[in-house]
């Protein structure tokens, strides 16, 4: 590794995020602890990362607040049965610091069915995760500590198309209209830009799992606050699997990065900041929204956003059979999807990609490009992502990282690209001084945040795209549930040669109602395209070009003098090494059709 890159990589350890303190986020009014049925453990819960970084899903709004949030009349209400049916990693997401992804292959079909039946009561529902979050926050406020010592171990499951066909029969399997799911990831691989050269490490034939010969039937995701709990649950699941003739094709442990880099991906950047907010609420009370609402009804965009920068999306974009997003008007729902068997209602497709990251290569590239452009490696790398390592968006802090901005969950995602971003009217938030950070100014021409920057490629927010007005972009959003795997190198001074070449990357996981219209659309049409949604090169993080084996890519970056420099990226810095397309059924189907046949 060259020395400038080494310095930039080591300096990531200093990345600061100044979390909001003393802010009273809306607290629970319910008896969540009682319903939770799980005592607060004495162990230190690590859920705080999620809660602090804005994952506050499941809280209720304060009663008697002077200002009120907005909900649309048609938003669905989930009764207890429904809330116990939806898998909790879909909504609101596990977001735990330690997770294990188990890729399994069935043996006899009877054994598989029995095992599914055994697993069913162990799968965590939406209700449980929402309650946990609420209780966690309530405890935190009550005890006045960041980590109130509440911990949990949660499990999710999803099946490939062949597995669904085996468990539920071919007639039911054929009822799944999603062609990409039926084909599977391996068959779609080169369509996603993956290498066509069989000698390339990223070629599907070389994947650790999910290639043509090693596709998994099931993917089990176990998530826990405590690594010991995680291991215990994984062992139990694997023991039962093997007793039922099921083999582990591949297992991948994922962990959040340590220290200041908690919640960051391996290149060193804070991840998981921007997520769509799912519309709808639980039946428990009128303000028990799946996504807490912080915009006051007076805000001009109150019907569209839960929180500044967090778009509200109709649940049918993530859960089959629910009302979907309308393609022109975000405030009215469109009819639910219909192409699935009855028992699959409220299930979701799960895309998993094991993406190897060449962290040293990334920082070497950033260092070389920075030198060519007369800027610093960290600024250049931040231009490729669209955010600084702390998570502070370039749009609001063009010249330097900003720890306070990064830690302010009402500001760190509040920006548009094409027009000036106006202040939001928020509900009363005791202790919150308001968004006092520099507002984002318009960047219609991509002079601040390059068009190719990862976050601008995959979510162009207020801009028109090659496929419509911003209303269309809501149709492309997905629920990202990934976690890094492998030993970190970001923030390490003088890494050993073994560490430099170590195996690490992102276990990308995302839930959605259409693989083709969401994950594949964003990947192929935006990330991989030099001209979509805007001319300006490919997404330097995940964009792949494979023009008959030629994998060179270019990115246009704005220079200080207003000109544009085109940088050629010689190598892939992110390489697919496994994964699969799965379907995460509703929990009722695990007890019913899938276990019984």
């Amino acid at each position: 590794m060259n020395s400038d890159a080494a310095i930039a990589l080591a300096a990531l350890a200093e990345t600061q995020t100044a979390l909001l303190s003393g802010v009273e986020l809306p607290a629970s009014s319910g008896d969540a602890a009682a319903r939770l049925g799980r005592a607060a453990a004495e162990t230190v819960g690590a859920e705080a990362v999620a809660a602090e970084s804005g994952e506050v899903t499941g809280d209720q709004m304060p009663a008697g607040s002077g200002r009120t949030p907005q909900a649309l009349a048609d938003e669905p209400v989930y009764d207890a049965d429904a809330a116990a049916d939806i898998q909790g990693n879909i909504v609101p997401g596990f977001n735990k610091d330690h997770q294990h992804f188990l890729f399994l292959r069935f043996g006899s079909i009877d054994g598989a069915r029995e095992w599914v039946g055994w697993l069913a009561p162990r799968i965590t529902a939406m209700d449980e995760v929402l309650d946990f979050r609420r209780e966690f926050r309530a405890l935190r406020l009550r005890l006045g500590v960041r980590e109130p010592g509440l911990s949990a171990t949660w499990t999710a499951v999803a099946f490939s198309f062949p597995a669904i066909a085996a468990l539920a029969g071919h007639t039911d399997a054929r009822a799944f209209g999603e062609q990409s799911f039926r084909q599977g990831l391996a068959e779609r691989s080169t369509y996603l830009g993956d290498p066509t050269d069989p000698d390339h490490r990223g070629h599907r034939a070389n994947w650790v799992v999910g290639g043509p010969d090693n596709e998994a039937d099931a993917l089990v995701i176990v998530a826990a606050d405590d690594p010991n709990d995680l291991d215990a649950m994984v062992d139990e699941i694997l023991d039962h699997a093997s007793a039922h003739g099921i083999t582990l094709l591949f297992g991948q442990r994922g962990d959040t990065l340590p220290g200041n880099l908690q919640g960051h991906e391996h290149f060193g950047f804070k991840d998981g900041i921007s997520q769509p907010g799912v519309r709808g609420r639980r039946a428990t009370s009128p303000d028990d929204h799946l996504t807490p609402r912080f915009l006051d009804a007076d805000d001009p965009h109150a019907e569209l956003f839960a929180k500044p920068g967090q778009p509200l999306v109709w649940p049918g974009q993530f859960l089959l059979g629910e009302l979907r997003q309308h393609h022109q008007d975000p405030t009215i729902p469109a009819a639910p999807a219909s192409a699935f068997p009855d028992w699959a209602r409220r299930g979701s497709y799960l895309v998993c990609r094991r993406l190897h990251q060449d962290v040293v290569g990334f920082w070497e590239m950033a260092t070389a490009a920075a030198a060519a452009m007369g800027t610093t490696p960290v600024r250049l790398a931040s231009m490729l992502v669209g955010r600084w390592p702390s998570g502070a968006p370039l749009m609001r802090s063009p010249d330097a990282d900003d720890a306070a901005l990064a830690g302010d969950e009402f500001a760190n995602n509040h920006f548009l690209f094409d027009d000036e971003t106006r202040p939001s009217a928020l509900v009363d938030l005791p202790g919150y001084p308001g968004d006092t950070h520099r507002p984002a100014t318009e960047d219609l021409l991509g002079k601040v945040c390059p068009f190719a920057a990862h976050i601008r490629k995959v979510n162009s927010r207020d801009s028109g795209t090659d496929f419509g007005a911003p209303a269309d972009t809501f149709l492309r959003l997905m629920l990202r549930r990934g976690i890094p795997y492998g030993e970190p190198i970001a923030g390490i001074a003088d890494p050993s040669p073994e560490l430099e070449t170590g195996e690490r990357g992102l276990l990308f996981a995302a839930y959605m109602a259409s693989i083709e219209d969401q994950f594949e659309f964003v990947t192929r049409r935006w990330a991989n395209s030099p001209v979509q949604p805007n001319v300006g090169g490919v997404d330097p993080i995940i964009g792949q070009r494979d023009v008959r084996g030629d994998r060179r890519r270019t990115v246009d970056l704005p220079a200080a003098d207003g000109s544009t420099t085109t940088i050629e990226l010689q190598e892939d810095l992110v390489t697919p090494t496994g994964g699969g397309y799965f379907f995460a059924p509703p929990i009722s189907a695990l007890r019913g059709t899938l276990a019984a046949g």
Binding site: Q179, Q183, L192, T196, L445, G464, D466, N528
Partner: protein, 315 residues
């Protein structure tokens, strides 16, 4: 002095020799479609670059997808239905039209894409009818006869068989035209009050092309900038993406795109056809593992563009 002296022909084609009246007529045709100055949203304006002096400080390519967005939205749960319906030229609404040629067994052997406007061909027919016949023979079929293209009164017939059932030369879908492209470019933001792209919602038009052009131009105008069409005006094919397209052996397909009019990156007419030596047909290709049964499956990977110039100093 104005930025543009005389609007150039699409793709700067020289179908007739310099000095032909076509060039002035074409300029007049375009000029008639652009108002001197139209404020679209906020303090800026869409202006006629042949009447306005512009200090071009930025350029912009407005890009969109060639296959009909309305069809994909209508058939969200059944893409094959969208592609099947997309074979009808009247649904090819994104300023890209195509003609599919099949062999006797029904397998696709060639897909021809065009971005050419009826206005241009009418202008050409008015000044050089023989040249039009010659071009049709070259582009579509040597069997084309003058009487196939011209009515008894001598008027050019845009809906002639070589541009409909038996081939393609230019747009016939009623809202694909230079008039429509420049018309939508001058469309005023509906609410008159949008401060950003979300404020412009709900947005009524379903095509990707309209949305792309409207949303971008409105935002440019809100900055107080003057914006105009680049010269020559008109829709182009800026790119295509055939990654993940495989031949019957599962290998990546060769480069089978042939630009017949225009150039790569700014094409007006493109033919997709597999050379006989390759030993397979277009219909034998799979896109992401799915066999090609409709031209629209290719159109989905054809990327369109229109180009603009921006003067950030003036409004």
């Amino acid at each position: 002095m104005s930025l543009v002296g005389r609007f150039d022909t699409p793709g700067s084609l020289r179908d007739v020799p310099a000095g032909s009246p076509l060039y002035d007529r074409w300029h007049a045709t375009i000029g008639a479609l652009i108002a001197p100055s139209t404020p679209l949203s906020g303090p800026g304006a869409y202006v006629d670059p042949s009447e306005r002096d512009l200090d071009v400080t930025a350029t912009r390519a407005y890009t969109w997808t060639g296959f009909s967005r309305p069809l994909l939205m209508k058939h969200r749960d059944d893409r094959d239905a969208a592609f099947a319906e997309g074979e009808d030229r009247s649904t090819q609404i994104e300023y890209l039209e195509w003609h599919v040629a099949r062999d006797p067994s029904g397998v696709i052997v060639r897909v021809t894409f065009t971005t050419e406007t009826p206005e241009y061909w009418k202008a050409l027919a008015a000044v050089a009818p023989n040249r039009v016949v010659a071009l049709y023979r070259e582009l579509v079929d040597p069997a084309v006869r003058s009487k196939d293209l011209f009515k008894a009164n001598g008027r050019y017939d845009p809906l002639n068989r070589w541009n409909t059932t038996h081939g393609i030369v230019h747009y016939i879908m009623p809202i694909n035209s230079m008039r429509d492209l420049l018309g939508v470019s001058q469309e005023v933001e509906r609410t008159g009050a949008a401060l950003d792209g979300y404020g412009a919602l709900p947005y009524g038009r379903e095509t990707g092309a309209d949305a792309r052009i409207n949303l971008d131009l409105w935002s440019i105008n809100r900055k107080g900038y003057a914006v105009a069409t680049a010269d020559p005006p008109g829709p182009l094919i800026i790119d295509w993406d055939d990654s993940g397209w495989t031949d019957p052996a599962g290998e990546p397909v060769g480069d089978h795109w042939r630009v017949v009019r225009g150039v790569r990156g700014a094409a007006l007419r493109v033919v997709y056809e597999v050379p006989p030596a390759a030993g397979y047909r277009v219909g034998d290709i799979r896109i992401g593992g799915r066999p090609i049964a409709f031209g629209g499956q290719l159109a989905e990977h054809v990327i369109m563009s229109a180009h603009g110039v921006i003067d950030r100093g003036a409004s």
